[in-house]
Structure formats: structure tokens, C-alpha cells
């Protein structure tokens, strides 16, 4: 599993598409929003936490189709599947690599980018906390979706459609916790729910992803 994780991280760094892709996309969305909705800072700061969460979610979504597709195209996936590593571990390693190259940098970048959205200073720690808690769930859920669509050429569309509904609870609790935190309201409930979703996904979804991969490789 370590071998696979290291290889994926190395590939992500070599291609430059790993850390960079999602971060750049995140930045792009955050910069574009004011051009679209106008520069009034009161509106921007009100929608700020939500925009950051949606942007993070989109950036995650977009990097998903590379999860298994590249290995599938060049024939590496069947070779990995016939190796001693169980497919469940493969899925977990892939999810972990995805989070390290996507979720983690996004979380760290969210605070500085908040400046562009005139975010209330009180909101920063909450944004970082909720993203840090929520992005692992996004990676694992997304890996499951990527495993589902691996055999489908250009499965990107389908992947987004499948994964989006699965992302909704994470988004709702994450954005809600960030918003409440920023306004000094009670945050325990959404935070707990968010943590629960992450823990549950981490515990269960790698098994589902492994099974689905096995079916897709037949």
C-alpha cells in the first residue's frame, strides 16, 4: 500500500497536476465569483464561507476522474488488481493520495483566499476547521464514485452526477458549521455531524469501492 501511495504522490508531483490543479481551480473560482456577482463587499462577506465550501467541493470533484482512469487507460489497473494488495487497500491508498494532493492543500489555502472575499476575521478558523474535517469525506466518497465509473470512457459527467448527491450532506453541515462559527452561534451539532460523516465514510466506503472495482475489472 505504501508503494502505491508513494507512486501516486510522485506521479501527482511530476505531472504538476496534483497539488496544483485543485489549488489553481480553487483560486480561479474564488476570483471569478466577485467578477460575476459584483464587488460589493457586504454581499461578498455574507456569501464568503459558502463560496469557499462550494469551490473546495468543485475542486475536489474535478480531480476525481483521474483517480482510476489513468491506471485503467494504460493498463496498470488489472496489473495492480492481480498483485497481492487487496482492492480495498488500493481504494484506501488512492483516497489518501487524493486527500493529500487535494483536500489538504485546499484546506490550507482557504484562509488566505478568504481575504479576497472580504471574510470576517472570526470566520477564518471555522473555515479551516470545517474544511479540514470535511475534505477527507469528500475524497473517500469521490473515490467510491470514481471506482463505480472506472470502465466508462469519459466517465467524468457520470461521476459528477453520481457523486454530487453524495456530497450534499457534507456540504450542508460543513458550510453551516462555518457560517455559524463565523457568526458566533452554536456549532456543536453540525460539527459533530460532519465528523460523523467523515468517520463513517472512512470506515465503510473503501470496502464498497474495492467491491465495485472488482466488478468493473471483470
Amino acid at each position: 500500500m505504501k508503494a502505491l501511495l508513494l507512486r501516486d504522490l510522485r506521479l501527482a508531483i511530476r505531472a504538476g497536476g496534483g497539488f496544483g490543479l485543485s489549488l489553481a481551480f480553487f483560486l480561479i473560482v474564488v476570483v471569478l465569483v466577485p467578477f460575476g456577482v459584483g464587488p460589493e463587499s457586504d454581499i461578498l462577506s455574507r456569501i464568503g464561507p459558502g463560496i469557499l465550501w462550494v469551490a473546495a467541493l468543485l475542486a475536489t470533484l474535478l480531480s476525481l476522474d483521474r483517480q482510476f482512469a489513468l491506471d485503467h487507460e494504460d493498463g496498470a489497473l488489472p496489473l495492480i488488481a492481480t498483485s497481492p494488495l487487496p482492492l480495498e487497500a488500493v481504494a484506501l491508498a488512492k483516497a489518501l493520495a487524493h486527500w493529500l494532493t487535494t483536500g489538504l492543500p485546499l484546506t490550507l489555502a482557504a484562509a488566505p483566499l478568504g481575504v479576497l472575499l472580504n471574510l470576517d476575521p472570526a470566520a477564518y478558523p471555522w473555515i479551516v476547521l470545517t474544511l479540514g474535517l470535511g475534505t477527507p469525506a469528500l475524497s473517500v466518497i469521490g473515490t467510491f464514485g470514481a471506482a463505480l465509473t472506472v470502465g466508462i470512457r469519459r466517465g467524468g459527467l457520470l461521476l459528477s452526477l453520481l457523486v454530487l448527491p453524495l456530497y450534499v450532506p457534507t456540504l450542508i453541515f460543513g458550510a453551516e458549521a462555518a457560517r455559524r462559527g463565523a457568526q458566533g452561534l452554536e456549532v456543536a451539532t453540525p460539527l459533530l455531524m460532519l465528523a460523523g460523516i467523515t468517520a463513517g465514510s472512512l470506515a465503510l466506503l473503501p470496502f464498497a469501492a474495492g467491491g465495485v472495482l472488482r466488478i468493473n475489472l471483470r
Binding site: 507512486r7 489497473l77 497481492p84 475489472l217
Partner: protein, 206 residues
């Protein structure tokens, strides 16, 4: 450890391709699959590798003993030749031995990004994977495509001495002679009648 196949029927894309296939390959021996284009060589090898289910019949093969190699070799263009091979060694939990670079004449290329290799060179890299993962049963789909005569001979020698010579098994689909002293199986004899009621999932609806 012997590879034993009995009454095997295989399908591709839902269409039966081969039927009633049976053979045995003993340790230290190879079997060459022959047949015109579209005969079903690739399909058969994928079934033997466990990548597709058979329609009928049985395959005796210890788990985790087979390795499949096709045109698509899972070579990562941005990793160097050695990095590619080391990854496979690590994934299959095998120690890394430099020897394989000599076996497949890759030593001078060892630090080149795999994406810059010529067709034959990257084919050699694909084959070198087999030398690294140490599997007993090799299922090879046209392994010598794009190789020049010297490389073909070198690969045949490796197969004979380092693989079969150590009790390995090989099943090889090929259109060109490899210079191996091995029995040939012509798949044209086992063609399934595509019109026959298949044993596949269609059968449930017919």
C-alpha cells in the same frame, strides 16, 4: 504446480468466442496459442488471468500465481525506467534486483523517463516487469510486438533459462515464432458457434 484447464468456454462482449477448451501445462513448460486475428487469444488469456469470468469449465491455478502482460503495460511516462520497475517490485512485495536491467537490456536506459523510449524499448520495459514480480505462471499476449530480432532472442532466452528453467509456466499468444521449443495450440479448432445458445447471461432470457 500445474496449470490445468478443462471444458473451458469463454465469451467477449457477451458473444461466445471459444468452447470446450482443455489443456495442461506442467512446470517448466510453455504453451503457444495460435490462431488468426480475432480467434480469441486475448480473451482466453484474460480469463486465465482472472480478469474475466469463464462461461463454463474450470481452471486450476493457485491464487496469486499468475501474471498477465499485454500491449498496455501500465508504463508511466513520467517515471523513469527504474522507478517504473521498482514500483512493481514494491507492490508485489519482492526485493529489487538490478539483474533485471541486464536481462532485458535496459541498463543504458535506466534513468530515462519511460515516455521517451522507442516502441521496442518500452516493450522491453513492459516485459521486464515480469522479471521483477516473480510470478510462476506468465500469460503473455503478443509479447514480442515491435521487438527487433536480437531482443526477441534475448527474451526467449530469458524465458527459457530464468523462467521455465526454474519451474515456471508460460502461456503465450503470438503470431511470430519465438524460437521456443513448445507445443502449439490452434484456437481455430475451438471456435464457439456464435449462434449457439450461449451459456452466458443471455441464456436466462432465451
Amino acid at each position: 504446480m500445474t496449470l490445468r484447464v478443462q471444458g473451458l468456454a469463454v465469451a467477449r462482449g457477451g458473444v461466445p468466442v471459444l468452447t470446450d477448451l482443455g489443456f495442461t501445462v506442467d512446470p517448466g513448460h510453455a504453451l503457444v496459442l495460435r490462431g488468426p486475428n480475432g480467434a480469441g487469444k486475448t480473451t482466453l488469456l484474460r480469463v486465465l488471468a482472472g480478469l474475466a469470468p469463464p462461461l463454463a469449465g474450470r481452471i486450476d491455478l493457485p491464487p496469486e500465481s499468475a501474471a498477465y502482460a499485454s500491449h498496455a503495460d501500465g508504463i508511466k511516462a513520467t517515471l523513469s525506467v527504474t522507478e517504473n520497475l521498482r514500483f512493481w517490485a514494491a507492490l508485489y512485495g519482492r526485493p529489487w534486483a538490478d539483474q533485471v536491467l541486464d536481462d532485458f537490456d535496459l541498463r543504458t536506459l535506466k534513468d530515462r523517463p519511460a515516455g521517451t523510449l522507442s516502441a521496442g524499448q518500452s516493450r522491453r520495459l513492459g516485459l521486464a516487469r515480469l522479471g521483477v514480480i516473480g510470478r510462476q505462471v506468465l500469460l503473455l499476449d503478443e509479447p514480442t510486438v515491435s521487438l527487433d530480432a536480437a531482443s526477441v532472442a534475448r527474451f526467449a532466452a530469458w524465458l527459457r533459462e530464468r523462467h521455465l528453467g526454474r519451474g515456471g509456466i508460460a502461456v503465450i499468444a503470438t503470431h511470430v515464432p519465438l524460437g521456443l521449443d513448445a507445443p502449439e495450440l490452434d484456437l481455430a479448432w475451438f471456435r464457439a458457434d456464435p449462434a449457439a445458445v450461449s451459456h452466458g447471461t443471455d441464456a436466462a432470457f432465451l
